[in-house]
């Protein structure tokens, strides 16, 4: 139980007494109170727990917090300094993507990761990048559109 040091959404966080094997998901949710990142399966199948580490999408349910070396971005870290939504979040609101909304933090983080590495994804790129995220409510059609809309607005 060494001291855990994490950079989360641009802030340095230090935690003591956290079990070394604790997945990042539960450190975020239970220790840091960042509950936007969701628990769906715990075995890297659904993507509900997706966060970014140095811009890359990671399944936080299966990633020990103690192994994180880079900067973590969670859904709470996407909006601008004055609370303005980033283009992905804005597209999600404008297109009314969510049904229950439970998967959407993970979907948004996966979309954000895609657009950071590929500003102009094709339909096939979107399908492939988002294939790791389950939406039980079946909002894939809107997610597809929202990713394209966000890509267009980011470029604008």
């Amino acid at each position: 139980m060494a001291t855990l040091r994490l950079n989360v959404n641009g802030e340095q966080r230090t935690l003591d007494g956290v079990d070394d094997a604790t997945p990042l998901l539960w450190v975020l949710r239970d220790e840091l109170g960042l509950v936007g990142t969701k628990f769906g399966c715990g075995i890297s199948q659904c993507g509900a727990c997706t966060v970014l580490i140095d811009g890359n999408p990671v399944r936080s349910c299966s990633f020990p917090a103690a192994s994180v070396a880079g900067e973590i971005t969670t859904i709470e870290g996407l909006a601008g300094p004055n609370g303005e939504l980033n283009p992905v979040q804005q597209a999600w609101v404008d297109l009314d993507v969510a049904q229950c909304g439970y998967c959407q933090a993970g979907q948004i983080m996966a979309a954000e990761a895609l657009l950071r590495s590929n500003a102009n994804p094709t339909d096939a790129d979107v399908d492939q990048a988002m294939a790791g995220n389950i939406c039980r409510c079946g909002t894939y059609i809107r997610i597809r559109k929202a990713v394209k809309t966000a890509a267009a607005n980011r470029g604008a």
């Binding site: 539960w26 949710r29 239970d30 509950v35 229950c100």
Partner: protein, 745 residues
């Protein structure tokens, strides 16, 4: 058989789903709803208001709050969302109904989740696609009532008659002078006005709607995309511990012993103890509770937990065993549940007879947020924050488990990460309540995905033996179905045919028979109960008969529907064959029915009526030589009455198509020795984005009372896709999921 009481499971199902049909020939939801809800919630006396009766609370000063739905003061306009939000959009659409008649500008409205208070709100639940039809009139009247009081106050202030005024965008406007008074400025004066009788306030004619029918983004969307705490799993209380509860995966198993001392020594573990259960399959099953400082500590402790189960009365259910029994039984005769016309004579006179066996597997709900509940028990009372579809029922369940008065149970509604019927049942709340009572600290009970999939109340599998007769004119002349289903209690089937199942209301000669297999694992409602599988069976078989008659499927379907008429006179929630034909023709036209298609690709059609919704779907599907399926597009035509929120309505249809496709393609839960064999998503391959088709949605504008849309678009999907595959390849699929017949995507 397992010695458990399964009664409550069926009662909830009946109360939620059968109200629509209650009463002879009338839409009497409120009346029958009241009786059923009282039976279950234990609410008695005059305290429970009917859904069509508006609560009255004439305040003499302070905010304008003429009922439970509207609260206006100088700071703004609040509208209360009465029912649980499970992704079906009612936290947005129900307040829209209030805002429309209130004439509030939507941007001025703040929506707040209502408390659970059935004395004020009538029945509060999410199920049966009932939120829209049950609330369409009462909520509009609630808004109109507040509006009338605001207009009255404005008339007094301006000293003009009320008919010199109109309302628009949260203001009362004087027609002649254009002078505007804001609702927020009028609220205090309006609060002193008498509350008009609900029946005396006029409602808008639909053509004057300014908000209903528009695309409105969900009221929680901003919070969702920011990751703000909204869901049950996000709740926290000061000093809260996290709990987990291990039950026997074969229902009926009891705890013989467990390594509790070892568990209690583990880091972060606060307590571990056995609960005996209360014998009610819908409330508290026996198990081991572990209470710890955080979720990870509970997960670790649960992995180390060793329980010896007494399985002498536990389930031994086996899917392969049930399949073998059904194979033997379905060729024999069963108990007749429908027998009309002269079925035998029609078969004797038939030009053609087709016999087919259909089978579908069990499935699980798989709502993405695993069950959880936050509970704080102190001084003989409990307060709970729960993602439940039936908060009203939950109060009675929890009170029963704790042995306290229902008045001592407070339930707060929180956003639900999906429902699909799972959250109709409050076993998880009973567990949280019992653990909180024992733990003496606030707890959040958090299930894992494995808990969810092993201890679900499953959508039952089933077996149908069909026979159809086609007469010399190529018409469908008789229909038989022997349904081999299951029973949990040795009495009632977990899913049953009835005179409302297609085509009993449409054909003269129909016989439905039923045989029940004993089954201990809990079976319950899953999105569009009954219809979600009957749709596949009957709309596939109708296509088989059309093919046997060498006739166009569309033509045969329209012929079976026949002349435009209500099938239950005077009940606008019943099947109307004219509305049915309307959506069938519209879907066919929009999809280009009859057009040339490339080899290996075809259109498939299906119609199904459920939950008051008339829905037809046409699937455009190609299949290659290796049985790899690609669904290109699904065209949907729906007649569900007026649309409340167009964006939400389209979203429900798109979602139902995806859910229907996901389920038919590859989802099954099998059982051996009473245990579900699929325990997480690695063995339960839900549809992902690459296999998602384009969905083209068309609504028929109709003036009938609206119905909900959470469910009715799902049943036609599987038969539409299977009919397309049959048309493309000649191969008839008679098993769900179709992966069992070797198909992949």
């Amino acid at each position: 058989m397992v010695a458990l009481n399964y009664q409550g499971i069926q009662d909830i199902f009946d109360a939620v789903n059968n109200q629509r049909w209650a009463g002879a020939g009338g839409f009497q939801i409120a009346k029958v709803g009241r009786r059923d809800f009282m039976k279950i919630t234990g609410l008695v006396g005059g305290g429970l208001m009917l859904s069509f009766t508006l609560p009255r609370a004439s305040a003499k000063s302070g905010p304008l709050q003429p009922n439970g739905y509207v609260r206006i003061d100088e700071t703004g306009i609040l509208i209360y969302a009465k029912n649980p939000e499970i992704g079906q959009g009612v936290k947005t659409s129900l307040p829209m109904m209030v805002a429309e008649e209130l004439d509030a500008a939507w941007d001025d409205v703040q929506v707040v989740q209502a408390p659970v208070d059935q004395a004020t709100y009538g029945a509060q639940f999410a199920g049966g696609s009932m939120s829209t039809p049950m609330n369409w009139l009462p909520l509009r009247k609630a808004g109109a009532t507040a509006r009338a009081m605001l207009v009255g106050a404005a008339a007094q202030r301006l000293e003009v008659p009320v008919d010199a005024l109109f309302t628009r965008d949260s203001h009362v406007v004087h027609k002649d002078t254009g002078r505007k008074l804001a609702y927020t400025d009028l609220a205090a004066a309006a609060a002193a006005m008498p509350v008009p009788e609900a029946d005396s306030v006029a409602l808008k004619e639909p053509r004057y709607f300014r908000l209903l029918g528009k695309r409105i983004t969900g009221v929680d969307n901003d919070a969702i995309v920011r990751g703000e705490p909204l869901f049950g799993i996000d709740q926290t209380l000061p000093g809260m511990k996290i709990a987990t509860y291990q039950k026997c995966h074969a229902i009926g198993g009891k705890v013989k012993s467990a390594n509790l001392d070892e568990i209690k020594q583990m880091p972060g573990v606060h307590d571990a103890f056995v609960l005996a259960g209360n014998g009610n399959a819908m409330e508290l099953l026996p198990g081991v509770a572990i209470v710890a400082d955080n979720t990870w500590a509970t997960i670790r402790a649960k992995r180390a937990l060793r329980v010896e189960w007494d399985e002498s009365e536990a389930a031994t259910d086996s899917w392969s065993g049930a399949s073998a029994s059904a194979e033997r039984l379905r060729g024999e005769s069963g108990q007749r549940v429908v027998d009309q016309g002269d079925v035998d004579a029609a078969f004797n006179a038939a030009a053609k007879r087709i016999d087919s066996s259909y089978t579908y597997n069990f499935v699980t709900h798989a709502q993405l947020e695993p069950m959880n509940c936050t509970a704080h028990y102190q001084d003989g009372a409990i307060e709970m924050w729960s993602p439940t579809q039936t908060p009203g029922f939950a109060i009675a369940n929890v009170a029963n488990v704790l042995g306290i008065d229902p008045a001592k149970v407070t339930v707060h509604q929180v956003r639900c990460g999906g429902g699909f019927g799972r959250r109709l049942y409050n076993d998880f709340m009973c567990e949280a309540a019992a653990i909180a009572q024992r733990a003496g600290v606030p707890v959040k009970l958090q299930w894992t995905r494995e808990d969810d999939m092993c201890c679900d109340l499953f959508r039952a599998g089933g077996f149908h033996q069909l026979a159809g007769a086609v007469d010399g004119d190529g018409k469908v002349s008789a229909w038989r179905d022997h349904f081999v289903t299951f029973t949990n209690d040795g009495k009632r089937p977990v899913s049953g045919l009835s005179a409302r199942v297609f085509p009993a209301e449409l054909l003269a000669n129909v016989r439905f028979e039923q045989t029940q297999l004993d089954w201990s694992t809990r079976c319950a409602a899953w999105r569009a109960p009954g219809s979600n599988v009957f749709g596949f069976v009957v709309q596939s078989f109708l296509h088989e008969l059309a093919q046997a008659a060498e006739r166009d499927h569309l033509e045969v379907l329209l012929e079976v529907l026949g002349e435009p008429r209500w099938l239950t006179q005077g009940n606008p929630q019943a099947l109307h064959t004219g509305r049915a034909a309307g959506v069938v023709k519209l879907a066919a036209e929009k999809a280009g029915w009859g057009k040339e298609m490339p080899a290996g690709r075809a259109l498939g059609l299906a119609f199904y009526f459920s939950h008051g919704g008339h829905i037809a779907e046409v699937a455009d599907v190609s299949v290659d030589a290796n049985k790899k399926v690609k669904v290109h597009k699904v065209t949907v035509a729906a007649d569900v009455g007026p649309i409340v929120n167009l964006s939400g309505a389209e979203n429900q249809i798109e979602g139902a198509v995806v859910d229907g496709l996901s389920t038919m393609l590859g989802l099954a839960v099998t059982f051996e020795n009473g245990r579900a064999q699929q325990t997480n998503f690695d063995k339960y391959p839900m549809l992902r984005m690459p296999a998602t088709p384009e969905v083209d949605v068309h609504f028929v504008a109709s003036d009938y009372p609206p119905t909900g849309l959470g469910e009715p678009a799902l049943p036609p999907l599987a038969p539409a896709v299977c009919n397309a595959i049959a048309a493309a390849t000649g191969a008839r699929i008679r098993t769900l999921p179709i992966s069992e017949e070797g198909y992949t995507v």
